[in-house]
Amino acid sequence: MSNTVMTDTQALAVEEIVAGYGGVPVLDGVSIAAKAGTITAVLGANGAGKTTLLRTISGFVRPRHGRVLLGGTNLTRRHPEDIARAGVAHVPEGQGVITELTVEENLRLGALARRDRAGRADALNLAYRRFTVLSERRRRAAGTLSGGERQILVIARALMASPRVLLLDEPSLGLAPRMVAQVMDLIRQLRDDAGLTVLLVEQNARSALSIADHGLVLNLGKVVADASAAELAADVSLRRHYLGF
């Protein structure tokens, strides 16, 4: 993986990122090129740097080296709130909903990053049509939702801003197998119907590769594999060493 060449179809490019929290870099020269309208799975064990990668893209971690490009725009070293407004929606792992706010307030909050104010109401209506479970619970505190419902809420909230790129951090974490299948199905629909570009970080490699177009495997901050999802899923040695299935 040397320098990535930008093309029109690349929605998100990460180039030679070196980043971390202290002395030792968590990410050591990571590059990704996510094509528009595709799902790119980012796989690897705990501590491989997957979450740090997403946090670097969304601006919470400042890279020591390298660039993050959205379309042709350089996002490197911009503030998280500006990166969100530029069209990158980051759904963090675990506690992404604001439990004290109602379901509807969570959704409305997601729409505040939109440039077009007029689109806010439309986005809310669309979210309720797409996710009827949220419509039924719109006045309830988000903290009363089940784990699966919360995961749907955070994804729906991320979509309120009409993002160009969706970053998902372990959306299957802590969900029952049936819910995992539903969430994966939802992510696939978002790509197929809305043409969304998705960067999907998962420990559940099998589920992620079942819907992804492309995949990368991170190990100790380096990309050790970068290929189509089908190729990764077929690579027995890679699966045994890094993916655990």
């Binding site: 963090p92 004290e100 505040l112």
Partner: protein, 292 residues
């Protein structure tokens, strides 16, 4: 009975002032987890500005509005200049900074206006209202104090609940990381929170100063009672701040009235100890619930 009414009404009036200070502390605490020890000092300073404006214009209401506006600006300025650099640093840093702001404001007030006690005009008459020939023990000004704090609190509550600015403020208070992920510019939101707190503190200042005289330390004791009220209410609950203020105001008024004024400070301590023993997180705190 007559006395009891008097103590009750006066307790409510002072309680609403403590409530206002408590509310300003709660606003800042919820947003930044910082205790603003300079809140009383800021209110003292804006009261001096109000007094000057009132003396120059001869109009109380011009001074009143100017004080609130200055509170708004002062809150924003203090946050931007002094508090911003220590946000996300160890909590003690912010404590020292806000105490430093307090010392500077009190020192400046002493240098500019001198240390002598000045009387500050009330908005309305301080003499007791009467029904027939019975004195109710409540003055027009007491009523004004209660109404003013209630109206401002209500406006704030409406803003928090029904506007997008309010939604941004609440989201930042509950989970600033998620708020940033959703594009909320939390720097501006925090400044706004401090500005609103400055406004409410300034309101408390002009409301209480007719009863305390104005001098560089005039808000110190009021601040301590407001802080106590905020802790009683739970420190992160606006409703708790108001209820805490009223409980403390009434309690201290009865203690001062029936047992003697010397015991007021002790009464405040007793109220605090009692509440913290029964409910360590305060009466209205949701923190313990949230951590489950």
């Amino acid at each position: 009975m007559q006395l009891f009414l008097e103590f009750t009404f006066s307790g409510i009036a002072f309680g609403m002032v403590y409530a206002a200070i408590a509310l300003s502390l709660v606003l800042i605490w919820r947003g930044t987890r910082i205790l603003n020890f300079s809140q009383g000092g800021m209110a003292m300073f804006t009261s001096y500005i109000a007094l000057i404006v009132i003396n120059h214009t001869g109009n109380y209401w011009v001074g009143f509005v100017v004080a609130l506006a200055c509170g708004l600006v002062l809150g924003a300025v203090v946050e931007r200049l002094f508090v911003r650099p220590v946000e996300n640093k160890p909590p003690l840093n912010a404590v020292i900074v806000t105490i430093g702001v307090l010392v500077v404001l009190e020192g400046l007030a002493g240098i500019i206006y001198g240390g002598q006690f000045r009387s500050f005009p009330p908005a309305f008459s301080l003499s007791g209202l009467k029904v027939g020939s019975t004195n109710l023990g409540v003055s027009r000004n007491d009523v004004f104090i209660a109404v003013a704090v209630l109206v401002v609190s209500l406006l704030l509550a409406l803003m928090f609940r029904y506007t997008t600015v309010g939604l941004r403020l609440r989201a930042t208070a509950f989970n600033s990381t998620v708020a940033r992920l959703l594009g909320v510019r939390i720097g501006r939101v925090l400044t706004l929170g401090w500005a609103l707190a400055g406004l409410i503190g300034a309101l408390a200042g002009v409301l209480v100063t007719p009863s305390t005289f104005l001098f560089p330390n005039s808000m110190d004791q009021i601040f301590v009672f407001g802080f106590t009220a905020a802790v009683i209410g739970g420190l992160d609950s606006p409703v708790g701040a108001i209820v805490g203020g009223l409980i403390l105001g009434l309690g201290l008024s009865y203690v001062g009235g029936y047992l003697g004024g010397d015991l007021i400070a002790l009464g405040s301590l007793a109220a605090l100890a009692l509440v913290l023993m029964i409910r360590p997180s305060g009466l209205f705190s949701t923190t313990s619930v949230r951590r489950v």
